[in-house]
C-alpha cells in the first residue's frame, strides 16, 4: 500500500516566547524540528509499510529550509520526499495549506492512505488534515491510536475523551495520528547517510496545478491582526514559614476565596 505522510517543520515551541516589554517574539536559538505528532504519523506509515509493503512518501509545504525535516523523515525510513515550496504559498492559513497539500497529493496520484499528525505544535489547529481529506473527498479518522488494514478496508481506533471508537472506512482515507499511536523510531546513522543521497524534488504551485488565488495570503480567509503575550500578570503571592504554617495559610486563603 502506498502511503503519503504530510509533515510540518516547526520551531521547538518550548523556546519561543514573547518579550513582555517590547511585545515581540524572542526566537533566538530556537531550533526547527519535525512537528512531534508528525513523527507519530511517519512511524505509523513505516509500520504499515513493514506489514503490507508499498511506498511511503513524505511531503511538506514550506520554505527551502524545510528540506531538513524531509531529510530527517527519509532518515527514519521514508522512501521519497517532496517539498512544496513557492513564494506564492507564503502566508497560507489552514484552508490554503490543506488545498495546496491536496493538490500535491493529486499530482502524486497513487495513494491508499494519507497520514498527518494530530495537530502542529506551533499552531495547534488540527485543521489541515481534515481540510486535505475534504479537498480530496475521502473519509477521515482523527485522533488515531491504532490501525489495521485489510484489502481496501481500514479499521481505525480513535482515542476520544473517555472512550475508544473504532471506525471502518474504505480506502483511500486520511488519518491523523495521536501521540499514543506509537513510539517514533530514531533515525539511525545508516538512514542519515542514505537520506543524504536522495533527491528531494521541489514543486511549485504551477507544478501541482494549484490556483494561485487559493494559495498563500491571497487564498487565506483568516488574517492574524495582532499577536501579544498571554496575560500572566497574576498577583503571585509567596507563602513562607514552616510546612505546617504554610499549609494552614494556604488552606485559609483557599477557603477565603471559596476554592475549597
Amino acid at each position: 500500500m502506498n502511503i503519503i505522510v504530510c509533515i510540518k517543520q516547526v520551531p521547538d515551541t518550548a523556546d519561543v516566547r514573547i518579550d513582555p516589554e517590547t511585545n515581540t517574539l524572542i526566537r533566538e536559538g530556537v531550533p526547527s524540528i519535525i512537528n512531534p505528532f508528525d513523527e507519530n504519523a511517519i512511524e505509523a506509515a513505516l509500520q504499515l509499510k513493514e506489514q503490507h509493503g508499498g511506498q511511503v512518501t513524505v511531503i511538506t509545504m514550506g520554505p527551502p529550509q524545510a528540506e531538513g525535516a524531509l531529510r530527517q523523515a527519509l532518515a527514519m525510513g521514508c522512501d521519497e520526499a517532496i517539498l512544496i515550496s513557492d513564494r506564492a504559498c507564503a502566508g497560507s492559513d489552514t484552508l490554503a495549506t490543506s488545498y495546496i497539500l491536496s493538490q500535491a497529493i493529486r499530482k502524486i496520484g497513487d495513494y491508499d492512505l494519507i497520514i498527518c499528525g494530530k495537530q502542529a505544535f506551533d499552531g495547534d489547529t488540527a485543521q489541515v488534515g481534515p481540510g486535505i481529506a475534504e479537498h480530496l473527498g475521502i473519509p477521515q479518522a482523527t485522533y488515531a491510536v491504532d490501525v489495521e488494514v485489510e484489502e481496501q478496508t481500514i479499521h481505525v481506533r480513535r482515542l476520544l475523551a473517555g472512550r475508544f471508537e473504532t471506525i471502518e472506512m474504505k480506502l483511500p482515507a486520511l488519518l491523523t495520528a495521536d501521540k499514543h499511536m506509537n513510539d517514533p523510531r530514531h533515525a539511525g546513522l545508516r538512514g542519515v547517510m542514505q537520506a543524504r543521497k536522495k533527491e528531494i524534488p521541489i514543486w511549485s504551485i504551477e507544478e501541482i496545478e494549484a490556483d494561485p488565488e487559493r494559495c498563500g495570503l491571497l487564498g487565506s480567509p483568516t488574517t492574524v491582526i495582532e499577536i501579544f503575550p498571554p496575560q500572566r500578570s497574576r498577583q503571585s503571592q509567596r507563602l513562607e514559614g514552616d510546612p505546617h504554617e504554610v499549609a494552614s495559610q494556604l488552606f485559609a486563603k483557599l477557603r477565603e476565596n471559596q476554592i475549597v
Binding site: 516566547r17 502566508g91 484552508l95 495547534d124 477521515q140 473504532t166 491571497l218
Partner: protein, 399 residues
C-alpha cells in the same frame, strides 16, 4: 502581495531579526534581509521602529456579505444531553448576536434529539435547526459535514461556532473547507467589531506562549471552535421558546463511507477525568521516584480532586498517560490546580494555565511555575504536601 525591506530606511537595529518567529530575517551587511522562510506573518512589521518593513497585502475587495446574517452555535450532544460547551457557546453567542442585532440559532443534529430543543431555547437560542435521522445517531464526519454545510449554504449565517472538542475539531475544518471559509481553532476569546460586523477571535499559539487575534475579513461565515470552560453559560430561562426549523434529511447508509464498529470505554481515562475536574493535584519530576506519587494521591483524595502529572513523569512510566496535563496531554481548567515538584515547562503551562487558581510547591525558587502561580510555596514538597493533606482532612471533616 509581498513583503520587503526599504534599505534606505533600515537602520540595522536587528529588532525584526529577533522578532521573526520563523528565523526568516537575516542581516545582509548593515541592513536586514528577508529570506524564503518568510510566511508573511507580519510580526516584523510592527516592531520596526522606522517603518522600513513594508508588507503589501492583497487589495481588500469590498465583498458584499450582507446576505449573511445571524449567529449559529452547532450543538454537541453527549450522553443524550447538550454538552457543556454548547451551553457556554449559546451564552457567548447570545451576547454576540445581541451586539450584531441578529438572531442566535442552535443547530441540533442527531437521532431523536428534539427533546433538547427546550434546553437550547432556555439557554439563549432564538431558533433551532433540527436535523434528525437514524444515520446521524452517532457522530460521523461525513454525514454531519453534509448536514452542516448544506444548512450554511442555504441559510447563510455570518458566524458559526463549535466547541473545540474532539467532535468540533473533527467537523469544523471539514465544513470550512467545503464552504470555503476561514476557521479559527481553539478560541479563548470572541468579540465583535460592530462597524464591520467582524468576529475578532483570540486564540493561543505556540503552545500558549503567544496569543493571536484573528479575523475572517471577506469570507462568510466566520467560523471558530471555542475551548470548553472558557465562556460562561446563561442561567436557563424556564419557558423561553425558540422557533424550530426542521431540516429534511434522508441518508442512505450505503453511501456513507465510514461505519462505527465499536465503542469501548477507556476505563483508565474515565477514572481520571481531568477535563471535568474542579480540583487537580499534579506531580512532577520533583517527586524523584514513582512511589512518591503517593503523597499526591493522598492530597487529591483529601481535597476530593483528581491526580495530574507532568510529561516527564509519564514518559518515565511513573504514572499512566491518562494523568498527563499539558500540550501533549490534557488541557484542563479546574478551579484549583496544585502543582507539586513541577518546574513549569511551557508545554505543561499550556495545559493548565486556564485554572482559576494555581498553587505551586517547588524547591527551586526560580521555577517557571511560580510565574503563573497565585500562591507559591518554596520548599520541600515532601514536607509541605503531607502538611496540606493533614489540614485538608481536618478542616474538611468538620464541614
Amino acid at each position: 502581495m509581498d513583503i520587503y525591506i526599504d534599505v534606505e530606511k533600515c537602520t540595522g537595529c536587528q529588532l525584526c531579526v529577533k522578532a521573526c518567529p520563523y528565523g526568516a530575517i537575516e542581516m545582509a551587511g548593515d541592513t536586514a534581509s528577508i529570506t524564503g522562510a518568510c510566511t508573511l506573518c507580519g510580526a516584523c512589521v510592527s516592531v520596526c521602529p522606522v517603518q522600513a518593513i513594508i508588507r503589501e497585502l492583497p487589495a481588500v475587495e469590498d465583498i458584499d456579505n450582507s446576505d449573511y446574517r445571524g449567529v449559529w452555535v452547532v450543538a454537541e450532544v453527549s450522553d443524550g444531553q447538550l454538552a457543556g460547551v454548547s451551553l457556554e457557546l449559546l451564552g457567548k453567542g447570545r451576547e454576540l448576536a445581541d451586539t450584531l442585532q441578529a438572531p442566535l440559532s442552535a443547530v441540533l443534529v442527531g437521532d431523536d434529539v428534539a427533546g433538547l430543543v427546550v434546553g437550547a431555547a432556555e439557554s439563549g437560542a432564538d431558533q433551532v435547526y433540527l436535523a434528525e435521522d437514524p444515520a446521524l445517531a452517532q457522530y460521523r464526519t461525513g454525514p454531519y459535514t453534509d448536514v452542516l454545510s448544506g444548512l450554511i449554504n442555504q441559510h447563510k449565517p455570518e458566524i458559526v461556532l463549535l466547541g473545540a472538542t474532539e467532535q468540533g475539531r473533527d467537523l469544523a475544518p471539514r465544513v470550512a473547507a467545503r464552504v470555503k471559509t476561514g476557521l479559527t481553532a481553539d478560541c479563548t476569546g470572541l468579540e465583535i467589531d460592530e462597524q464591520e460586523r467582524l468576529l475578532i477571535q483570540t486564540r493561543p499559539a505556540f503552545g500558549g506562549n503567544i496569543m493571536a487575534r484573528i479575523i475572517t475579513r471577506n469570507h462568510r461565515p466566520q467560523m471558530a471552535t471555542v475551548r470548553p470552560r472558557v465562556m460562561r453559560r446563561l442561567e436557563p430561562v424556564p419557558g423561553r421558546e425558540a422557533a424550530v426549523v426542521k431540516v429534511p434529511v434522508a441518508f442512505d447508509e450505503k453511501s456513507i463511507l465510514t461505519r462505527i464498529v465499536e465503542i469501548a470505554r477507556d476505563e483508565g481515562a474515565e477514572a481520571v477525568n481531568l477535563q471535568d475536574a474542579d480540583i487537580i493535584v499534579a506531580g512532577g519530576r520533583g517527586l524523584k521516584k514513582p512511589e512518591n506519587f503517593g503523597v499526591i494521591y493522598e492530597l487529591a483524595e483529601a481535597l476530593g480532586g483528581v491526580v495530574g502529572a507532568s510529561r516527564p513523569t509519564v514518559d518515565e512510566g511513573w504514572i499512566p498517560p491518562y494523568h498527563q496535563v499539558g500540550q501533549t496531554g490534557r488541557t484542563v481548567q479546574p478551579k484549583l490546580y496544585i502543582a507539586c515538584g513541577i518546574s513549569g515547562a511551557v508545554q505543561h503551562l499550556a495545559g493548565m494555565s486556564g485554572a482559576d487558581c494555581v498553587v505551586a510547591v517547588n524547591s527551586d525558587p526560580n521555577a517557571a511555575i511560580f510565574d503563573i502561580a497565585h500562591y507559591g510555596i518554596v520548599g520541600d514538597l515532601f514536607e509541605i504536601v503531607p502538611a496540606l493533606t493533614e489540614i485538608a482532612r481536618q478542616e474538611l471533616a468538620q464541614d
